[in-house]
Structures are given as structure tokens and as C-alpha cells.
């Protein structure tokens, strides 16, 4: 039996005694609850982290047996001295990558984490490029027109309109 199978089997077995001896949430260690925020309750009915599974709209809006069993399993793994990462990996082997509440920072999922920074850097690059291009653009030349010294009435009017636009918020 592989480790993944044994985890699934243990989880199933762990659920059975729950019917007789209920496991209160309070009995779980803080570390188990912490790890439980990183794995999803796999009952397929709530889509919430195991630690905060609460089944809105269910007959009982609290932690379901699946989540309790998963957390108990976490506690048992902790007792065996496993690291958080080892525990998570065991759950991934049992349930697939869907068990994560957030994408893992490895493999293809790393793309999800990298993308926002890429957007920021590319976007900032574009902004800097645009600013530098705008800075290089020459200021509009105002040349005297017609017979009057200075500027034409049309230009003056345009300048007035622009000034009023720019000074008004």
C-alpha cells in the first residue's frame, strides 16, 4: 500500500469512530489548525479550508466529518514528527493538487504566483516608457501670426481655454 493510499484509508477509518466519540474542534492542536488552513476540506460540499469548513446553508453549519478527519490526520502526522511540508505532500498524494487552498509554489502553479509581479513590472516599464516619451515631446511652438505683434486671436483663445481647463479641477 502506498503512502497516499494509506492516508486515504486512515482518513476513512478515522471518520468511523467520530460517530461514537465526537472530536471537538477545541481538541486539535494549534499547529493542526494552522496546517488545516492550507488544505481544503475534500467533502466536495463546501470548498473551504479544512480548519474553517462551516457548510453555509447546510443542516449543520460547522465542521463536517471529512474536515474533522483530515485535521485529526494532520494531528497524527504531527505527533509522528512530520514537517508541515511532509504532511501537505501526503495529502496531495492522497487527493491531488486540488487539496491545496492556494496554488503551490512549484511546477506550473508557480506561474500563478509569478504573474502578478510580471504584470507589475511590465506595467511599470510601460509607465516609465510613456513618461520618458512624453518628456521628450517638444513643447508646442507659439509663433507670432498675422500682422499683430504677439499671438493670433485664435491661439490666444485656445490658450485661454486650456488655461481655464487646467486650473479648474
Amino acid at each position: 500500500m502506498t503512502k497516499a493510499h494509506s492516508i486515504a484509508a486512515i482518513t476513512m477509518l478515522a471518520m468511523a469512530p467520530l460517530l461514537i466519540a465526537p472530536l471537538g474542534v477545541q481538541q486539535l492542536s494549534d499547529r493542526a489548525k494552522q496546517v488545516g488552513t492550507k488544505i481544503k476540506c475534500m467533502c466536495r460540499g463546501c470548498d473551504m479550508p479544512a480548519s474553517t469548513c462551516s457548510h453555509p446553508g447546510g443542516a449543520f453549519s460547522g465542521m463536517c466529518d471529512t474536515a474533522k478527519a483530515m485535521l485529526k490526520e494532520v494531528d497524527q502526522q504531527i505527533a509522528k514528527g512530520e514537517t508541515d511540508d511532509q504532511i501537505l505532500q501526503a495529502f496531495v498524494k492522497a487527493y491531488g493538487t486540488q487539496v491545496y487552498t492556494e496554488p503551490p509554489k512549484s511546477g506550473f502553479s508557480l506561474v500563478a504566483w509569478v504573474l502578478p509581479s510580471v504584470y507589475l513590472f511590465v506595467g511599470a516599464g510601460v509607465v516609465v516608457f510613456v513618461i520618458s516619451r512624453w518628456r521628450k515631446r517638444p513643447a508646442p511652438q507659439v509663433t507670432p501670426a498675422g500682422g499683430t505683434p504677439g499671438i493670433s486671436a485664435e491661439l490666444l483663445e485656445r490658450a485661454r481655454a486650456r488655461a481655464s481647463r487646467e486650473t479648474q479641477d
Partner: protein, 685 residues
């Protein structure tokens, strides 16, 4: 009435097609009669959609259980209030409701501008009719809400039937917010059609520069306001109804509503660059296009169930229709842009890096990064499945980690941007404007740290909130002081006067202040606590300073559900504070459950108590209590945002010189050398 509704919808479709095709004809030929008749066809389309919608509501109110949609979403005992909301509780109805709200906007636009902007309006009319045709196609041929209930007979043929009662409305929707949250959100989604139609119309018509922006400014703000209200009401609904202690779960449907809000917010800011400086014309046009595309995408994600979600109430085959429509819009926008892009040439150059212009660019950058990050996060499970075959969950922890820093940067810009001058900001003015607010922010941060705000992001958020609030307050104070010096009125009256003279600017500041309050509320989330306990009568549980005592429990049958209620006394410092009544409701018709959270809300924190139901193991009632700091600030902030937007929608009141006779006491010197008959007074324009 179902025949009436179907007929109205078919006629509406015909009218919309005429408004679209005739509109194109009117643009090509310029024939005035064609222009007029297509406008009237547009108005007729709207009126017919109104009739169809009222027709469907009539079916709900008359308990017509021969109609398949009414059977699926209502029952006789459903409260009248919720029979209105039943309209948008399912796929077919909400698509009709989309058409309805869109028609309200289209109708208003066609009436408002019936004798104005002659060259532009035919283009706008064609774009609006095009969007209406899409939704009317869905309403008529893909997801009609007027289908009669039919069951297969013995010979295999379908027989029409009428049921004695309906299946009832989903319990999750039987809450007051559900009657106002979807209309608000949909009014936001549909509202962005108007700026889109004007932007695309102006581009196609090569309509002069900033004019379309002036024309659509108010429409955009109205759509944005509804979108903001819709999002916050949705958050409040999730908080008060779902009973998990939170208000935002980064659910795909929530994300979908946030996306157009982010680009819409970016647009509201960047239009100022075009108005004041003639810059970013291409960008603005594409921002509007994107916002509209995201509105359609949002409707699609909500309605199609392509990304699984706890409240994607419907999933069906309308996906291909939406993807096709999105592709068509994108194609049309792109073609219009390629053909007429020379008309979008920008005018100005940038004088200095530290200027209002740059701050707008960074504001847009951050809003767009947030938008794209949320979008790609939401769609990542789908991509992951495509590329690797594994479906990955992208939940709240991911979105929080990614968006909190972006949100904080935006908050910072909210404080900095409005105080930078156009063109160039001197170091002197930077010192003058930011010195004091920065100092106040740091002091605020120190106080928060001393009070126990030890979480990094929350502390940064609080410092920024104090900083931004101070910059805004200082702006009001400086402006009001000038008016007070002249008018002699109180500082508050002067501040009101100041606001009314430049509603857009100071309304904008009020909106910013609202956002600050929302951020204060969000900062509290890091300190949420909760505890759960199986309770017997008389037993107690402790959370923070509160002791909860289960005093009693009862069960009361209501018309549509049976409520099991816990009667909990809240004690603080051994003194009775209040009673809370969390409920668990069991809906008779749907055999589903709902929670009714009891919340004791103060500015400092919310005591949030959920009766989770009977423990499946011991049959004892389980009470789940949460202590959520500062949540109330979010709802207050939302109200301030709406208030600010309403202020910004008001026309400016201008100070004008009025010559009027005034009493001048004998022997008094004349003020400022003015003749005795003249005084300075202000009047509304």
C-alpha cells in the same frame, strides 16, 4: 400573461434589429426620417422589454405555476417582497432583468439626447441596439423565462401542465439584501454600456475630442456608484447570511464583479487627463472598452458556472453565446480603433515627473495590475486544467497575498495624487502638503502599535489611512478657511460651500474618504477571532471581553420556514449587555437550510454569533461566535462613497457678483472703496 411576455420580447427583438440596421442605414444615408424612426424603434424596444419584465413579475405575483420559471423559483407562501427578487434568482430571469436595466439606461439616453448631438447619437443608438439584440436573443431563443411547464406524456409527446405550488426560492436568497444587492450590481454592469456606446460611437463617428467624455461622465459615475453599492451589499449579504464570519471570500462571482469596478475606477481617473491635458485618448477609449467587456465577462462567469463558485446559481449552455459576443465586441472595437486611430492623437507633453499626470498613470497602473491579477487568479484553475490536467484551487489566501500590497499602494496614491499639481509640483508644495499628514500618519501608527496593532499589513494600512484622511481633511480645511475669511460663516458651512462650488473635486475627496473608512475596516480582518462550542441551557462561552450565556431556545413556525432560535445573553464585565437571537431556518418547500446570524456591531468590533445547528454527534446546539474588529467601518465607508459620488454628480454652484442695494450706516467708511450701493453677494447659478 406568459404569451403576452413572449410576444413583447419577440417584438422588442424585432424593434432592436430595426434600430440597429436602420441606424446603420441612417448613418450611411443621413436621412432625417430614418434617424428619427430608428430612435423611436430604440425607445419602443425599451418599452417592450419593460412590459415583458412586468409580465414576468405578474406571473410571480399571480402564482402562475404553469410557467416553468415561476415553478422553479417561487411558491405560494413566498413573501411578496421576495417575489420581486425571484425575478433575478435564476438564469432566464436574470438575463431578462439585465435587458430591463439596460433598457432603463438606453431609454434615458435616447430621451435625454433626443434633440442633441445629432451627428453622434445615431452611432450611439446602433451600439446600444447591438447590445440589446444580444441579450434579447438570449431572452427569446436561448433562455426564455416564459416557457410553459411541460412534462412528457405516455406517448412521448410533451404535455402542458400546471402545478399546485412551486419549488420555492433558494433560502440563501431570502434575505432583504438579496432584493437590493443584485439590482445594484446589475445596474453597474448594464450602466457601463452607456460610456461604451458613446466611446465606440465617438470613435466611429470621429466625434470631437473630449466631448464624448463630457457627455458620459455622469453616466459612468452612476454606473460606478451602483457597482460599488452592489459589491458592498453583496459583501454585507455574505457576512450576514452565509454565517462564516467573513464578507469577502474571493469567490469567482465576487471577483467578476470587482474586475469592471477596478477598470471603471481607473477610467474615472484617467478621463481627467484627457479633459485637462488632452492626453491618454487611446488609453481612455480602451479602458471603456475593457470595462464593458469585463461587465459582459462578469455576467458570463456569474451565469455560466464555468468557474465553480458557491453562488453561481445557474450553469447552462449559454457560455458559447457569451464567448461569441465577447469576441464580436473585441473585433468591432479593434476594427474601429485601427480605422480611426489617427483621431485619437494626444496633444500634450509632460513637464515634470512629479506631477498629477504621473500620479494618474501610477493610479491606472495599480488598478489595472489588480484587475489583471484578480482575473488571471480567477481563471487560473481553468488554465491549469488545460495545460497540466490538474485543477488547482486558487482561494482567498492567494488573492489576499497578491492584492493586499497592491491595495496599500493604491491607498497611498489616493493620498498623494490629488495634492500634486498639474504639470509640475515643487518641492516646497510637497513639503507644505505632505509634511503634516505624514507626521499625523506616523503618530497614528505609533498609537495603533501601542494599542496592539502588531500585524505588518494592518499597521501599514492604518498609517496610510490616517495619512490619507489627514490630506483630505487638510484640503477641506484650507479651502474652507479661505471662504470663511471672506464670508464670515462657520468653518463647517464654509466647507459645505466649498464642496458645492466644485462638487466634482470635493465629491471625489469624499469618495476617497469613504475608501479610507473601508480600508480601516479591512485592516481589522487580521485580528478576527472565533470559537465554537456545544452548549447546553445555562452553559457559557467566552470570546474576547464577552461572555455568552445560552438562556433558552425555541422553535417557531413561519409561513415559509421553521426557525430554530437560540436565546443568548451577552455579558460584559459581569453585567448583562444585551440578548442575541441567532437562528437556523429550515425551509419547508425546498427542504434547505439557512442561517440568520445575530450581530452586535460597534465601531470597535462585531460580536457575530451563529447558531450552527445541532451537533450531528451529540445533538447539542452548537454556537459559533466570532469577534471581528472594525467591520462596521466598511459599511460606513460604503455609505460615504455613495454620498461622495452623489455630491460629485451635482452641478457646481458658482460664486457670482450680484449688484444690489445695501443699507450703509451713516458715517461708516466704505468697505474696499466700493460705492455704498454695491455689496458682494453670492448666488447659485
Amino acid at each position: 400573461m406568459d404569451v403576452f411576455g413572449s410576444f413583447a420580447l419577440i417584438l422588442a427583438f424585432v424593434c432592436a434589429v430595426y434600430a440597429f440596421a436602420g441606424g446603420i442605414g441612417a448613418i450611411v444615408t443621413g436621412h432625417p426620417l430614418l434617424v428619427k424612426s430608428t430612435r423611436q424603434a430604440g425607445i419602443a424596444t425599451c418599452c417592450l422589454i419593460f412590459l415583458a419584465t412586468f409580465g414576468l413579475e405578474y406571473l410571480f405575483f399571480s402564482d402562475n405555476f404553469a410557467n416553468a420559471y415561476v415553478v422553479s423559483h417561487s411558491n405560494r407562501d413566498l413573501a411578496t417582497f421576495y417575489k420581486i427578487a425571484a425575478l433575478w434568482s435564476g438564469q432566464e430571469g436574470s438575463l431578462l432583468f439585465w435587458s430591463f436595466l439596460l433598457s432603463v439606461y438606453v431609454f434615458s439616453v435616447l430621451i435625454t439626447y433626443r434633440n442633441k448631438n445629432g451627428e453622434l447619437m445615431p452611432y450611439v443608438g446602433v451600439v446600444m441596439a447591438g447590445v440589446q439584440i444580444f441579450f434579447l436573443t438570449l431572452n427569446n431563443f436561448v433562455a426564455s423565462p416564459f416557457k410553459a411547464l411541460a412534462v412528457p406524456g405516455a406517448n412521448g409527446a410533451m404535455n402542458l401542465v400546471a402545478r399546485a405550488d412551486g419549488n420555492g426560492l433558494t433560502p440563501l436568497l431570502q434575505y432583504p439584501e438579496m432584493v437590493i444587492h443584485p439590482p445594484n450590481l446589475y445596474a453597474g454592469y448594464t450602466g457601463f454600456t452607456i460610456p461604451f456606446a458613446f466611446a465606440l460611437g465617438a470613435l466611429l463617428a470621429r466625434y470631437p475630442g473630449e466631448k464624448w467624455i463630457h457627455l458620459t461622465r455622469k453616466w459612468t459615475m452612476i454606473a460606478w456608484m451602483f457597482q460599488s453599492m452592489g459589491i458592498l451589499l453583496g459583501a454585507h449579504w455574505a457576512y450576514a447570511v452565509l454565517g462564516w464570519g467573513g464578507y469577502w471570500g474571493w469567490d469567482p462571482v465576487e471577483n467578476a464583479s470587482l474586475l469592471p469596478w477596478l477598470t471603471g475606477t481607473a477610467f474615472l481617473h484617467s478621463v481627467m487627463m484627457q479633459e485637462k491635458r488632452g492626453m491618454m485618448k487611446v488609453w481612455n477609449v480602451w479602458l471603456v472598452f475593457t470595462t464593458f467587456l469585463l461587465c459582459i465577462l462578469g455576467t458570463f462567469l456569474t451565469r455560466s458556472g464555468v468557474v465553480s463558485s458557491v453562488h453561481a446559481f445557474a450553469s447552462s449552455k449559454i457560455g458559447s453565446w457569451f464567448t461569441s459576443f465577447l469576441a464580436i465586441i473585441l473585433l468591432v472595437c479593434f476594427a474601429a480603433y485601427v480605422k480611426n486611430r489617427d483621431y485619437l492623437k494626444s496633444e500634450n507633453q509632460l513637464d515634470a515627473i512629479v506631477s498629477r499626470e504621473s500620479s494618474f498613470l501610477f493610479n491606472n497602473l495599480m488598478l489595472l495590475v489588480a484587475c489583471v491579477a484578480v482575473l488571471s487568479g480567477t481563471l487560473f484553475p481553468v488554465f491549469s486544467e488545460w495545460f497540466t490536467g490538474n485543477r488547482i484551487s486558487v482561494g482567498a489566501p492567494f488573492f489576499n497575498k497578491v492584492n493586499i500590497p497592491i491595495g496599500l499602494l493604491l491607498l497611498f496614491l489616493t493620498g498623494v495624487g490629488p495634492l500634486l499639481a498639474w504639470r509640475k509640483t515643487s518641492t516646497e508644495s510637497l513639503k507644505r502638503n505632505f509634511g503634516l499628514p505624514l507626521a499625523i500618519g506616523i503618530v497614528g501608527g505609533a498609537v495603533a502599535f501601542a494599542l496592539g496593532f502588531r500585524e505588518f499589513y494592518s499597521l501599514v494600512c492604518l498609517i496610510l489611512c490616517v495619512f490619507v484622511a489627514s490630506t483630505i481633511a487638510l484640503e477641506f480645511y484650507r479651502g474652507a478657511k479661505v471662504i470663511r475669511a471672506r464670508s464670515g460663516a462657520s468653518l463647517f458651512t464654509s466647507a459645505v460651500d466649498l464642496t458645492m462650488r466644485n462638487t466634482r473635486r470635493y465629491g471625489g475627496y469624499i469618495v476617497h474618504m469613504g475608501m479610507v473608512l473601508v480600508f480601516i475596516g479591512l485592516a481589522g480582518a487580521a485580528f478576527n477571532r472565533d470559537t465554537q462550542k456545544e452548549m447546553q441551557l445555562g452553559s457559557t462561552m467566552q470570546i474576547g471581553p464577552y461572555t455568552l450565556v445560552l438562556q433558552s431556545a425555541d422553535s417557531r413556525p413561519e409561513r415559509n420556514y421553521t426557525a430554530q432560535r437560540m436565546i443568548i445573553e451577552v455579558m460584559r464585565d459581569n453585567k448583562s449587555l444585551m440578548m442575541l437571537y441567532p437562528e437556523k431556518r429550515r425551509f419547508v418547500t425546498t427542504v434547505e437550510n439557512g442561517t440568520m446570524v445575530a450581530i452586535y456591531s460597534t465601531l470597535k468590533e462585531d460580536l457575530y454569533v451563529v447558531f450552527a445547528g445541532q451537533s450531528p454527534d451529540t445533538q447539542l446546539p452548537v454556537v459559533h461566535a466570532y469577534l471581528n474588529p472594525l467591520v462596521k467601518w466598511i459599511w460606513l465607508g460604503g455609505a460615504v462613497v455613495v454620498l461622495g459620488t452623489l455630491v460629485a454628480l451635482l452641478p457646481n454652484r458658482r460664486a457670482v457678483l450680484v449688484l444690489a442695494g445695501a443699507q450703509q450706516p451713516a458715517g461708516q467708511p466704505l468697505a474696499h472703496g466700493l460705492p455704498s450701493s454695491v455689496t458682494l453677494r453670492e448666488r447659485h447659478d
